[in-house]
Symmetry: C2
Subunit: 380 residues, 2 copies
Amino acid sequence: MSHVSAPTRRSEETRSTAYVILGCLRLQERKPKESQLAGERAATLSDVAREAGVSLATASRALNGSDRVVRPELQERVLAAANKLGYTPNANAQAMARGSTETVGLLVKDISDPYFSTIAGGLADEAEKHGLLVMLCNTGGQPEREQKFLAALRRQRSRAIVLAGSDTADVRHTSEVADLLTSYLDGGGRAAAISQPRLPVDTVVIDNHGGAKALAEQLVGLGYRRAAVLTGPEDLLVSAERHAGFAEGWLEATGTAPAYVSDEFSRDGGRRAMTRLLEEGRNDGAEVDCVFAVNDLMAVGALAACRQAGVEVGPDLAVAGFDDIATLRDVTPGLTTVRLPLAEIGRLALELVLGKPSAELRKRSVHGEVVLRESTPPRS
Amino acid sequence: MSHVSAPTRRSEETRSTAYVILGCLRLQERKPKESQLAGERAATLSDVAREAGVSLATASRALNGSDRVVRPELQERVLAAANKLGYTPNANAQAMARGSTETVGLLVKDISDPYFSTIAGGLADEAEKHGLLVMLCNTGGQPEREQKFLAALRRQRSRAIVLAGSDTADVRHTSEVADLLTSYLDGGGRAAAISQPRLPVDTVVIDNHGGAKALAEQLVGLGYRRAAVLTGPEDLLVSAERHAGFAEGWLEATGTAPAYVSDEFSRDGGRRAMTRLLEEGRNDGAEVDCVFAVNDLMAVGALAACRQAGVEVGPDLAVAGFDDIATLRDVTPGLTTVRLPLAEIGRLALELVLGKPSAELRKRSVHGEVVLRESTPPRS
DNA sequence: AACCTCCGATGAAACGATTTAGACACGGAC
DNA sequence: GTCCGTGTCTAAATCGTTTCATCGGAGGTT
């Protein structure tokens, strides 16, 4: 077989490697139906047992060596047979027989948001270490979807669930989620939440309040005196906590409370809020020297608004954010923010949810670290 | 029951809603072991059937009404029984009996990379519409991990697999992946790839070459004459394609080939490459007026390097990227780039993999759109 | 030689669904 | 009165593993 470039010349023995030679791998001739009808169904454990000339039980033990009491010689024969037949255990059957799976569910509001994707990355890495698979559930912040996913994960008999999602003050929804969760827990599942302290499960608590407060103190230390906060929707807990923390710090340090404007918890929300803030400031003359956006995305929107309005961030006006999103570390001017170890948070959440269960709710606190950059220079 | 604030007063009937009244929901008293031993195991379909006074078969039909031939009255009785017992179908058992699952696997190199997370977002949304769950596999670009995940997805009898991952010229690895994939396909699975044309499966082809070429043409049109390309590792296909496309366009338009520097396919790689480029330029006097980084992350790194070196991007030097990552749309100066409909690509990949199988390989092309911003002003 | 112990392997019963083939009752047509 | 559909429901087989009793035999004690 000289060159394999003529697809017609390809024979059976070439199936595994020959087509690699081509720049573009070719699909070998599949016969979608025939192969199944021809009794070529996936090899099962009984097939392996028969091939090796042992019983089902022995084959099972030899393969997953649970309570390894199988003669080495037999073990080898079974392994060889499995290999020869291309045996792949059926995880669903295993799950049924064992009564537990190797799957954990992860609920996020929006995986394309770097906040969540970074958490997901950390969690996925940790999961891989434990040999677990991650079910990604993108709720889009819709309560129905969140509940649907929760139900689905329960059906799947997921070993554990991590909620990193929408964290609203919607009592009705929260209570329904709590219900689903407790019945899931009753069924032997494990669950943990990230920064949703209202849920009746173990939680990775992010110190939003403290981080924002520390930021406020630093800003006052830099010489700023009149602040405004760009917040998300009122019922979004993260936003509310950060707002409150900042306000508290600011009040304690300056004796005045910061103003605030709220809009969407997104880049565009930040831009709109900032635009409004600038207009109002011009109108009533009560201009601020410093703006805190409750997350980096909003802060970046604010930067854009400033640019458009001809306000130079840094000299004219200080802007700070929260999260320290990696891809945003290069905006100009460098954005002062509160760094959150997001990947670590994901890792921690999985650790928490896999740790041995305890009667009382476990909490694991994570603190942010203020990172000063050029968007908040010392005030002259 | 006036105020429920005293946990001790809580009785059985309050289980579903009462604790919601508290600011912080409380875990109801769980008895981790007892409840299981007390025969309180999850309700099964037989339980429901018994409760409703019908047979297993009827209960099954009534619930998932496949070939609906069950009397409405009975149907209702079954539904009521299921509801009363809090019945949750066991997806694993269903998967076994039906021989198929509701799960699709998604392999990405790094979910915390906005490129992949945006694709994942699009795919997840589409999956939700089809009632499918997404298994997220974060390969970290490690071949062994990729193969492990593929095997795991096969064990799980995933309905389909989408590969959006590492796309290297490593022939050995690619061939092993191809092997795993074909045996998965033989087992009745479906698979598709994103921008990995060497794999023997349906593919969403991203026109990296054309996009980069178009970008080159536009830049020449703006008056640039001496270009350099910041590439990723040589064996990374995306990088190579974009490099080649840009080079081709540039060569055709100016008659000269662009120089290039390669480094990691990341922000830091871009920064290092740019730094080296600037140094070399100063040394041999062959300075460039325009730099194309093969993705936005590298471009942003390049911007940082320029800033540090005191080179003003725009007036002094043009910089362009590729992808149009959403969170990077606000860097300053605005980054010229080639916009890719990433979410759409994820959606498309799922569509492709769920579409009815065909004998020949299906390809779906996606083109980028050049977006000019301030980082590449018209050359005076 | 009879008895007791282990050790290693096996048979068969779960696990929780779906689904096929069969049973039963009821009418209408001849 | 017999025959044949038709419409519902049930019994039982099946899916692929795990695991709990068993059970046969080898080896050591008395």
